[in-house]
């Protein structure tokens, strides 16, 4: 296990992605977990070192596959538990017809792209809610519908996935102000009052408390942010194990 942070590596000295990965490869690695600010970086690296297993740990605005996996893993765990079963026993069946609402900065979110793929692959229905500027420029081909009434969608949902407003990506310019975003698309205490007590609330973190979600809501029993973090460990262990071992049978 080799950890490389940009701040302490030659990337800071202007080394190209190809050279960085070639250097790491020369140390003798079987797999690389890459988190990168540029969309497509993991795909590019897989071309540069085709003999190395590349695990996408999040690339730009594109995909965050392990987050998508751990989110559906968490939902399955909760639903199975409520049904008095183990997740491994229920498989994906509890997702059939499950109503999932994803809220916030869809446009700039790699988590949204992976979550939508994961939920719909398992049979859930996904709707998205966001200001017009934070929706993708073109949703053609996305298996989602855009909600017209946020309050109604909140009441409709079995699962609410909130997204971080990514101010470091210049999201600030896409809404007039954070307080206006909160007023229109925040999961405030007032809005949360209409939720069914069983509605699952998720957030990939780090949360902007008071922006996407009020603290009181974030700390409710049906908000599972810390469970998401916990589940990230076994899910990512499984991804590493399966990809390096090469097959399910060997695992």
């Amino acid at each position: 296990m080799l950890s490389l942070a940009v701040a302490s590596s030659s990337v800071k000295k202007g080394e190209s992605l190809r050279d960085t990965i070639a250097t790491v490869d020369a140390l003798g690695i079987d797999a690389v977990v890459l988190r990168h600010k540029s969309s497509g970086a993991a795909v590019q690296v897989s071309r540069f070192v085709p003999h190395v297993r590349v695990i996408n740990g999040g690339d730009g605005l594109h995909q965050h596959p392990t987050q998508g996996l751990l989110d559906v893993f968490t939902v399955r765990q909760i639903l199975a538990n409520r049904a008095g079963a183990l997740g491994s026993e229920t498989g994906g069946e509890l997702f059939k017809g499950l109503k999932v609402l994803i809220v916030g900065d869809i446009r700039h979110s790699r988590v949204a792209r992976s979550d939508i793929a994961a939920y719909t692959a398992l049979g859930a229905e996904v709707r998205v809610a966001a200001p017009g500027t934070l929706l993708p420029s073109d949703l053609t081909g996305w298996p989602v519908t855009v909600v017209e009434n946020f309050e109604e969608a909140l009441a409709w949902a079995d699962v609410i996935g909130l997204l971080r407003l990514q101010q470091e990506r210049g999201t600030g310019a896409f809404v007039p102000s954070l307080s206006e975003f909160t007023a229109t698309f925040g999961l405030t205490t007032e809005r949360a009052a209409v939720l069914d007590p069983t509605t699952i609330i998720l957030h990939p973190g780090p949360m902007n408390r008071g922006v996407e979600i009020d603290s009181l809501v974030a700390d409710r029993d049906n908000a599972f942010m810390t469970r998401q973090v916990t589940n990230g460990v076994p899910v990512r262990m499984a991804v590493l194990y399966l990809s390096i071992a090469g097959s399910k049978e060997l695992a």
Binding site: L17, G40, L139
Partner: protein, 432 residues
């Protein structure tokens, strides 16, 4: 040197016929049947097209400033391999070609190469879009095209002033149409594909709004305006409409915009990153239709060499642009294989008119391009086999750079010989 091109299909401005072409002392001496070849080097042109050497009005030669990617000499060699007899060097070098000294340098370097190098001067100082460059002084050196290409002149007041200034000088301004405020940060065409890939988009609207703006500016100023690398169906329609209204507007399209679409960006390979970006498949079809029905004046390469390490950067960080000179003819044949007259119209005669390189434009020193293939014309000619099959190999290019998006692609149609001012400068893939 006496050359005889034996038995080719001679492509004139309106029709073709099979004939020998005899070249002597830099000019076409005779065109006819069974010409006497005594003392001449004979090139068997049977099955080939013989037409005016190609003219590229949109070449980035990178010298001065980026010689690791291309030099005027290496770019010229790429040109003659691609069938070109003349290139117009774009001014977005480092520093920009925005004054007499730098333009003179580029022209002098160009004069040492195998083909004719013309220069496009910058419209504004340093291509900064603020104050006018010395357009009249550069025009006195023979510069006939002016552009800030790389980006367009963003400020409409500056563009209007430039058009007003250029109009009486008889030169043509050429615009890279993209409103940078709308295109801000974009790295590929904005649409369903960019949304899925998580890449920031450059909307078609950014191009089309500037096309609209500049047509309206030209309507008030008069003068001549050329639209560089148009990439959308709407842009082409706008320019066609302006032309029908009598405005002196011309247009070019680049091979990558009618060969490749935005779907090529799926693999995040920066070799497919270019400005304006690769567009939708329906735009590609519209550009092809325009080639077939005369809806564009020129095919221009936008040959844009970049060092390999820069194209290995992540997609959003890599520079935009791709090579074009060595494959443009074969790629254009994919659309115009059945129409040699149209082929030479868009790759030689049309661009020569736009850049004022023809005999009737008073081209200097008998270096006229884009003419007819008849006795007396300057012998700037190309011989190409419209069917020969070959494969693009990025490691076998004359360009110093390797950033072709076509590596491995099967091409049909190959340039066999290029003749500049009567001299055989390329024969069967070998520089002479």
């Amino acid at each position: 040197m006496t050359l005889l091109l034996r038995g080719g299909t001679v492509v004139g401005p309106t029709a073709t016929h099979i004939a020998d072409v005899l070249i002597r002392d830099g000019r076409i001496a005779a065109v006819g049947q069974n010409l006497d070849a005594t003392g001449a080097e004979i090139i068997d042109a049977s099955g080939c097209w013989v037409g005016p050497a190609l003219v590229d009005i949109h070449t980035h030669l990178r010298e001065p400033g980026r010689e690791e990617a291309e030099t005027i000499e290496s770019g010229a060699n790429a040109g003659v391999l691609g069938g070109y007899g003349a290139l117009v060097a774009m001014p977005n070098t480092e520093p920009a070609l925005d004054n007499v000294a730098l333009v003179s340098y580029a022209l002098a370097q160009g004069a040492k190469t195998r083909l004719d190098v013309a220069v496009a001067g910058a419209i504004t100082v340093g291509r900064q879009g603020e104050s006018l460059a010395p357009i009249a002084e550069m025009a006195a050196l023979g510069v006939r095209l002016f552009t800030d290409d790389g980006t367009g002149v963003q400020n409409p007041a500056v563009m209007r002033r430039a058009l007003q200034y250029a109009a009486p000088l008889g030169v043509r301004l050429a615009q890279h149409c993209e409103d940078e405020a709308l295109a801000a940060g974009g790295v590929m065409n904005e649409g369903a594909v960019s949304a899925r890939l998580g890449l920031v988009g450059r909307p078609a609207l950014a191009e089309e709004l500037m096309v609209m703006r500049d047509i309206e500016l030209l309507r008030t100023t008069g003068g001549r305006l050329h639209f560089l690398h148009l990439s959308t169906a709407r842009s082409l329609a706008l320019v066609q409409a302006a032309k029908a209204q009598g405005l002196d507007v011309t247009s070019e399209i680049a091979p990558h915009h009618f060969i490749l679409s935005e779907e090529s960006c799926e693999g995040f390979d920066a070799h497919f990153k270019v400005h304006p970006p690769l567009r939708t498949p329906s735009d590609v079809l519209a550009l092809r239709a325009a080639l077939l029905d005369g809806g564009v004046d020129a095919v221009a390469t936008d040959h844009a060499p970049h060092a390999p390490e820069l194209k290995d950067l992540p997609f959003d960080e890599a520079p935009a642009g791709m090579l074009g000179l060595e494959h443009a003819a074969a790629l254009t044949l994919e659309v115009l294989r059945d129409d040699p007259v149209a082929f030479f119209q868009v790759l030689s005669r049309g661009p020569a008119r736009i850049a004022q390189l023809r005999a009737i434009d008073n081209a200097p020193d008998g270096s006229a391009h884009g003419g007819d293939v008849v006795a007396g014309e300057v012998a700037n000619l190309v011989v190409l086999d419209p069917h020969e099959r070959w494969y693009v190999d990025k490691n076998a290019l004359a360009s110093r750079a390797t950033n072709t998006p076509y590596h491995g692609r099967e091409l049909h149609g190959k340039v066999r010989a290029t003749i500049v001012r009567g001299r055989l400068v390329m024969n069967e893939g070998e520089l002479q």
